[in-house]
Amino acid sequence: MAVSAPQQNVVGDAVASLAYEALEISKSFGGAKALDGVSVDFRPGEIHTLVGENGAGKSTLLRVMSGIYERDGGELRLGGESLERLTPREAQHRGIYLVPQEPTLMPHLSALENLFVGIIPRGRLPFTVDWKRMRESAGDYFAQLGLAIDPRQRAETLSIAQQQQLECARALVHNCSVIFFDEPTSPLTAHEAEMLFALMRRLRERNFTLGFISHRLDEVLELSDRITVLRDARVVATMDAADASRELLVNEMVGHQVTIQRRHARAAQSDDVALSVQQLQREGEFHNISFEVHRGEVLGLAGLVGSGRTEIAETIFGLRHAEAGRITLEGHQLVRHSPRSCIDRGLIYLSEDRGRNGIFADVQLPENVSSAIVPRLPRLRGLLNRRVEQRLAGEAMERTQVRALRRDVPIRSLSGGNQQKALFARWLLAEPKVAIFDEPTRGVDVGAKADIYALIDGLARDGVAIIVISSELEELTWICDRVIAVYEGHVTGELSGEQITVAALGRLIVEEGGA
């Protein structure tokens, strides 16, 4: 492509950046509102941060503003000019760039090629590439942004942090002046995050318009000029960072309506330990994890994405192998265990990523539900008894209230909430004694959520020991008898009964409570 070659003088100088406003933006996904009349303005020379719980609409807003999602309603205004239909290409053309959470570079191309992809300068002869010019200007960009990246290196060999830096450089090469960062720091170490912040501050000095999403409130307060809090698809507050405090942000994020939900009280739990984990350890993931779950108890595992909570659960279920520590299920120590042996002993794990780790998309509903207990099904002359299978799967789906017009359809045709209920049916059929539910209500609608809470409560009343992993702190306050919080791979605290509040949890999962 022979688009104008990158202008080198952009780097270093202040850019003539434009304010970018979202006005009353709304966006729904299959009936669920992700954005409901959201207005946010991003100004030049300012870092404006969006905070909110998972599903509050932060990422959706940035994706709408960078043309990845088409908005259902509302207006986008760049430098006062209203933007009609915005495609990713159009957005980039107008200087809007989104650095995604997981960098989307082309792994087998060099850093250099990734940087210039789409606007590779043409050489003197047709069909040739002006490598020299590319190398020189890339060197300029890297030097002025303070990046230590070898342009010849293949993108896949770069660290995540370097890949993000490369994405920033790409935004500059493409003459973008509005740059959004969607939760860039969650995969980074503290030191790497600092480097990214330094880069962002440099861009701010040059009058770039910057948007940022983060769950780490400390860094939000440190870096931002203004902060907007989203909750349930709406803006609940916009404030100057100088006026903000962690307390205030947490309150706004979770809302003051915490009391709508009555904590249910279950009868005192038994003292029978169903699952005990002692000093479990995996290098780089978690260390010295110890806890017990009793029969009939719902134990919450609170933590941010990347805190090690899923890794702990997967280790218990035999998907990863512990380097040290002991797992005891109903008095029996698990050694060299696999998912199969766990299921057979009554330990089940509902994975957090339904699409990737849960459903068999093209397989019909009953077979999806029965898939974990096929070895237990009765046989007639070596062949599975389909009638019994259909009946068992049907009963389980009734218990979990899967709503489907027909049973003989592939599971992919169901809504997210009903897929999740079908997976609950799968694990109920396995008759668990200990159940681990990882993000049990992610991506399901309100009604299905209520059904799932009721299911979890019912299982606990039947004496099943339950571990619930969730990023939604409110959810944990509703359904858990006890919660342990993990932060960067270690337990930072434990709360039980009335102590379990969103504020207390919120402090623990960012380690303020101290280990």
Partner: protein, 356 residues
């Protein structure tokens, strides 16, 4: 009741028209079944060709066509199992050839009967399939690369087994098996092929192993998390595919009556078997399809190509014809998630309009 965060009977609404399942909808569902489509198309081809050349429908011709299709049909059944796990086996031709040669030499020189040859053919095929399975499941080599390698290696093995010799004279039992009729118009081979297809249809649909095949092909990680031993299932699928290719070798030997160092590879039988698998409705992305479709597709291909001959088309057109049929079959599948012709056309028109 317990903890409902917001008591909302949101989900009581139901789409209108539930229970109005008309006969027409049932019919259209049936017609969407690949197996039925294949039967209908095969019958139509038969009718048209018979109108042109009346001997086409004779018992003798039907018997010949069925027997002639069975080597491919049996191999296609095995191929389908592998494709269902999201794999592919390019090495079936030399597996067939090696099994045919080994059994053939023993029959020619030591009067081995077909029944004695059967376990040998199966064992050779299974062993070669095991090699493929190990490469894919344990060494983690992508199936297409692993079996491209073994295609070459096993072709070498076949040449070594042949040792520049050919199988030319076989005991009459082989000729009877390969070309005789059980009932008028129904050859022995068709019974064997149909038996294999039905047996594997049952295995796939109604055994733990079969369920695991679909689960692994759909979503290997989810399968692992549902307690399925993914490597074992994968290895087993290649072993079965190999064993069925071995059986295909025995069938080929009996039907053709000879074998040499290039049997199988020279007729590109692995590609025909893959074609039958795809035409039969199994998707290369795994987890969807079945062996009955592949079996019927093998017969369909045989009939269609024989019809071309009846219409005196130059056999040069045969490979191109197979290719066209594969593409038509994939296009005719409404469930592939690929944009339909109509929607593609609509998009094209829209972009034209946007430009003006």
């Amino acid at each position: 009741m317990t903890t409902a965060p917001s008591p909302s009977p949101l989900l009581s609404a139901r789409p209108a028209g539930v229970g109005q399942r008309s006969a027409r909808r049932t019919l259209s569902r049936l017609l969407a079944m690949r197996e039925l489509q294949l039967v209908l198309v095969t019958v139509v081809i038969f009718a048209i060709t018979t109108a042109h050349a009346s001997t086409f429908i004779s018992a003798g011709n039907i018997s010949f066509l069925l027997a002639d299709a069975m080597a491919v049909a049996v191999i296609a059944v095995g191929q389908t199992i592998v494709v269902l796990t999201r794999g592919i086996d390019l090495s079936v031709a030399p597996i067939l050839g090696t099994a045919a040669l080994a059994v053939g030499f023993l029959a020619q020189n030591h009067n081995l009967t077909p029944l004695e040859g059967l376990p040998l053919a199966l064992a050779i095929g299974a062993a070669m399939g095991l090699g493929n399975g190990f490469m894919v499941a344990l060494a983690g080599i992508p199936p297409i690369i692993a079996t491209l390698g073994s295609l070459a290696i096993y072709s070498g093995v076949q040449a070594i087994v042949a040792h520049s010799q050919e199988v030319v004279t076989l005991p009459p039992a082989y000729f009877n098996l390969g070309n005789g009729d059980a009932i008028n118009g129904i050859p022995y081979l068709a019974l064997i092929g149909a038996g294999v297809a039905i047996a594997f249809a049952l295995i796939l649909w109604r055994t733990r192993f079969g369920r695991s095949i679909y689960a692994v092909g759909n979503n290997a990680e989810a399968a692992r998390r549902a307690g399925i031993n993914v490597s074992r299932v994968t290895v087993s699928s290649y072993v079965l595919c190999g064993a069925l290719a071995g059986l295909g070798g025995l069938i080929f030997l009996a039907h053709v009556g000879s074998a040499d160092s290039t049997t199988g590879t020279d007729s590109n039988i692995q590609l025909t078997a893959i074609a039958a698998t795809l035409i039969g409705g199994t998707t290369l992305t795994g987890g969807k399809g079945g062996v009955i479709g592949s079996f019927l597709a093998a017969i369909f291909l045989e009939v269609a190509l024989a019809a071309l001959v009846e219409f005196r088309l130059n056999p040069i057109w045969e490979p191109a014809g197979v290719g066209v049929m594969i593409l038509l079959a994939v296009l005719a599948d409404p469930t592939t998630g690929r944009p339909s012709l109509r929607s593609a056309l609509r998009m094209l028109l829209q972009s034209q309009r946007a430009r003006t």
